[in-house]
């Protein structure tokens, strides 16, 4: 695994026009070229170059593809795998015909949606009637019991189709029971008259009728729900029927879309096609060979090393290590590292797991999290996710790691669901917190461990920063930046002085001339930062505002004060920030102790077991979430700020792979 970002090379190639299509196919198949506009490389020549004629409009294909994907989502079908995309077997697409195919399916779906709408409106009618009937709000309804002389129940139902109504016949009594809304009387009454409705004068039937109506309304609602479910199933069915052609269409559209995107990055002269882009060094030979083969050797291919180009223009990719993918996500969420700098992912993996483990040290609870992670991972493998959600496959994998970390630290500190079932490998964390530990350790011991942990993390961050700066040959910042050697020197001195102070019983700092020299020398050197910066800027030809000596001295002093304050307060606060690791670990133990006591108070046995289970569940959920968030914060703020500048440009090749656009590449 490459510890740094993947080395890149800039390709510029010229091929004959007739070879353009085959070159496009190989470019898409390989999917390693992150295009740049040729005009950027040669702005003076840009006017002589024509952009692609636009045979394939990527937007039109993307649009139609989006419509197909919407159909898939409705039927819970995942998009076809990118493994099915093969540029070599790509066929032309008649867009208007393709649109008609999609339109046909959409029309069928819309027809069913219309049916659904009717059912929805029917439901609204029934719900209102049911509300009045069940709450006996009789002032809003008309209940008629009787019969019609002209026509039958079916005809009556048909006439009342646009009214909220229920008609029951042939039940307990011979007459029909008709329920309508009183407010619809103006429309209903004439209809009843025209059908020769005769009311049954027996007022005692009303109560029985109400019960019948309530039953009927509930049955209608269930029926409507069933019909709705059937309609929804039909919608899914209509899409499923057209699944194969739609999937083929999707693949074709996607290919044409990507080919269109590639075309849009080409420039043309009368007979040639020119293109340029960034390629990982490891893929350079393969790509060049593929271009030469596709163009039958009638091409010119030139390479420029990334070192010869401005760093900020070089896209950034990192090696894909499947084991580290969940941590890659954490890094991606923060930013993109600068080209040529260290890949933070492996360091984040170690620091994040260590932090989480220290905050959530319990083997039993860790096992639960690990098992949860395994279950979720299996679920995601067997159910291809159509709709994105908060719990993703990567998060599930992260649970496995976090669970593992907790198990390890749980064994080290002897905690199993808050119980000391086995002796600890190091010391009894639980005992230290509650005051039972026999070796004389106390809470300050735990605080001390986490402070040391913080010092190691910050120190590692500084070291990584120095490595990055050496690779960038940025000697100025390497020596004089607050995260440079001067900053590190002061941090180291600060740590030494602080521990001496604590060691002396908080009474005195180290005596002798060493301490003043150790702090004084770097602080004096720091005063030279502003003048040296001005000299360097002038040497690089940058504009430097002319200032008098007094003004320069003032600038230097002010900047020095700010730097000193930032260094001292920043490092101090960053280091002390790691005490939260102890805080959360102590809180974890305290919660488990509390639940243990509650379980005892509940009398043990089944009740105690239930309390223990619920307690553990709550701690896993709350403390686990807390620990995960705090570990992330420590990484983002205390660790990353030491070395991760995040000014990188995402490596975004046009590729068939589903993670096209992500910055990771697979080494073959």
């Amino acid at each position: 695994m490459n510890m740094f970002t993947v080395p890149m090379k800039l390709l510029t190639a010229v091929v004959l026009d007739e070879a353009t299509e085959s070159v496009k196919r190989v470019l898409l198949k390989l999917g390693v070229l992150d295009f740049i506009k040729v005009a950027r490389l040669a702005p003076q020549q840009a006017s002589r170059l024509a952009e692609s004629a636009g045979k394939e409009d990527p937007e039109a294909y993307a649009n139609l593809r989006s419509r197909v994907e919407t159909l898939f989502i409705q039927a819970n079908i995942a998009n076809p795998s990118t493994e099915k995309l093969d540029p070599d077997t790509m066929e032309p697409i008649d867009l208007s015909r393709a649109k008609r195919t999609v339109d046909q399916v959409v029309e069928k779906v819309n027809a069913l949606r219309e049916q659904q709408k009717q059912l929805s409106q029917g439901r609204i009618r029934i719900e209102e009637l049911l509300r009045y009937v069940s709450q006996r709000q009789l002032q809003y309804i008309d209940i008629r019991i009787g019969k019609v002389d002209k026509g039958d129940a079916q005809q009556l139902r048909a006439r009342l189709a646009n009214q909220a109504s229920v008609l029951i016949e042939g039940r307990t009594f011979n007459d029909m029971v008709l329920l309508t809304l009183k407010r619809d009387r103006q429309q209903v009454a004439p209809m009843m008259d025209s059908m020769g409705w005769t009311e049954n004068p027996d007022g005692n039937l009303q109560k029985e009728a109400l019960e019948l109506l309530e039953e009927e309304l509930q049955s209608r609602l269930r029926q409507l729900d069933e019909e709705n479910a059937n309609t929804k199933a039909k919608i899914v069915g209509k899409v499923q029927e057209a699944r194969e052609p739609l999937e083929q269409l999707w693949c074709g559209l996607r290919l044409h879309e990507l080919m269109g995107e590639i075309s849009s990055n080409f420039s043309h002269t009368r007979n040639t096609t020119i293109f340029s882009g960034w390629v990982p060094q490891s893929s350079a030979n393969e790509l060049e060979q593929a271009i030469r083969n596709a163009s039958e050797q009638r091409c010119v291919v030139e390479w420029i090393d990334a070192k010869e180009m401005p760093r900020e223009e070089v896209p950034v990719a990192v090696d894909d290590v499947p084991l580290l993918r969940p941590f890659q996500k954490l890094v991606d969420n923060y930013s993109v590292p600068e080209y040529g700098t260290i890949n933070p992912t492996p360091f984040v993996a170690i620091s994040y797991l260590a932090m989480f483990g220290l905050m959530f040290a319990d083997a039993g609870q860790g096992l639960v999290i690990l098992l949860l992670g395994l279950l979720l991972t299996r679920h995601f493998k067997t159910h291809r996710v159509v709709k994105p959600s908060m719990i993703s496959a990567d998060l599930a994998k992260l649970f496995i790691y976090l669970g593992g970390a907790s198990i390890v630290t749980g064994i080290i500190f002897g905690s199993y669901f808050g119980r000391p079932w086995l002796p600890p490998l190091w010391f009894d964390y639980h005992g230290v917190v509650v005051g039972h530990e026999g070796s004389g350790r106390d809470v300050y011991t735990i605080l001390g461990i986490t402070i040391w942990f913080g010092i190691i993390v910050i120190g590692t961050g500084l070291l990584l920063n120095w490595i990055n700066l050496i690779r960038k040959k940025d000697w100025f910042h390497l020596f004089l930046d607050k995260n440079g050697i001067i900053g590190g020197w002061l941090f180291g001195c600060g740590v030494w002085a602080a521990f001496s102070f604590v060691g002396s019983g908080y009474s005195e700092l180290p005596q002798g001339p060493f301490l003043p020299l150790a702090f004084g020398v770097p602080l004096v050197i720091l005063l030279t930062k502003v003048p040296i910066h001005r000299v360097l800027e002038k040497r690089h030809g940058q504009f430097v505002e002319e200032k008098g000596v007094g003004s320069l001295i003032l600038d230097a002093v002010l900047e020095w004060i700010v730097d000193v304050l930032e260094i001292f307060s920043g490092f101090l606060s960053n280091t002390l920030s790691f005490m939260r690791v102890a805080g959360l670990g102590i809180a974890h133990v305290s919660l488990m102790s509390a639940f243990a006591q509650i379980a005892e108070l509940a009398g043990g046995g089944i009740a105690g077991l239930i309390v223990a289970i619920l307690g553990n569940a709550m701690v896993i959920a709350l403390e686990g979430l807390s620990a995960g968030i705090q570990a992330l914060r420590l990484n983002y703020y205390e660790f990353f700020t030491k070395y991760f500048t995040g000014r990188g440009l995402l490596y975004n090749p046009i590729s068939l792979r589903s993670h096209a656009g992500r910055r990771i590449i697979k080494r073959s």
Partner: protein, 358 residues
Amino acid sequence: MSLGALDRYAFVNAKLRARIGSMLEMSQWEQLMRSNTLEELLHALRGTGYEPLMEIYDQSGDVQRLEAWLFSRNVELHREVAKYMDGMHSRVVLAFTRKLEVENLKGIIRLWFSNTVKHQNIDHRFGYLFQRPIVEDIDWTRIINADTYDEIVDELGGTPYEEAVSRFDSQHIAGEGLFDLETALDRAWIHLLRQEVKQLPNEDRTLTEEVLDRDADLKNIINLVRFGWMYRLPKDRLRTMMLEGGRLVGTKEFENYLDTTPENRSPEKLVARRFPRLSVELAQMEDTSPEAQTRMVERYLFTARKQSFKTMLQGNPFTIGTILAYFFLEEKQNGMVRTLINGIHYGWKFSDIREYAV
């Protein structure tokens, strides 16, 4: 800024700013407008506060249910903000919420009118209206099922709308329609709002009154153009339509406008002193029809409001400004979603959707 303001607004300010931060941006709206089907639009709204719309449409296929949900969401958001405040500030927020209550009331009365007065079949349409309490405990069911207008007046007895509705009787409603009643209801809720706003501390009161005055002026202008010029209503009717507050009503320009014959009324002269820039824009319009001029004033109102709320969000966070800005932005966002839903469902052209939505 007092400790009281800090204590009062710290939480709600953070909460609402987080929500404002997660509102959809223009680039996202442009994407959404290009949706070909309603399903595509609703799927694209996943991960936003409008995510439930997809499930509702999937269950019902009913666009009107979507609109009903949007209204319901708006009500819940208002009530939630009111819960975060206390005392007079909570009352002011509820006073703003009355706008929704009046909108709902007008909707239900219109349905009642169609059914009871016009004898039209309203079928299931009541089911789409909000039926739970919003601010007052109004029995909406009783209103829709009222046999007479007097029953509606009776139901609204004891509410702040009692005075407005009791000014009319069945005869007036049957003969003249609902226009005057709806105008009276609008004036009622604005009056209530202004009464509550007067109780606010100085800075909050000034901010809110500035917003209300500007809104009142511009809405009055819209009504004067639409009804005074397009529909040529007489000046007495126009006066009754004027909203409370603002600096336009009672001015020389206003009186001159009313005194002029309808065909000679000039919106540019009306707004010249209060909104000189608007006056210039109206004078420069090629299309001088009342519809075009009304749209121009509406756009001006929107721009002015947007600018003032932007200023509020950039200013002192511990004032009522954040709440006002949030309501404005939510209303705008909801409106855009509603326009998109209807536009895409009914097959409007992209340019038409854009014109109405933005």
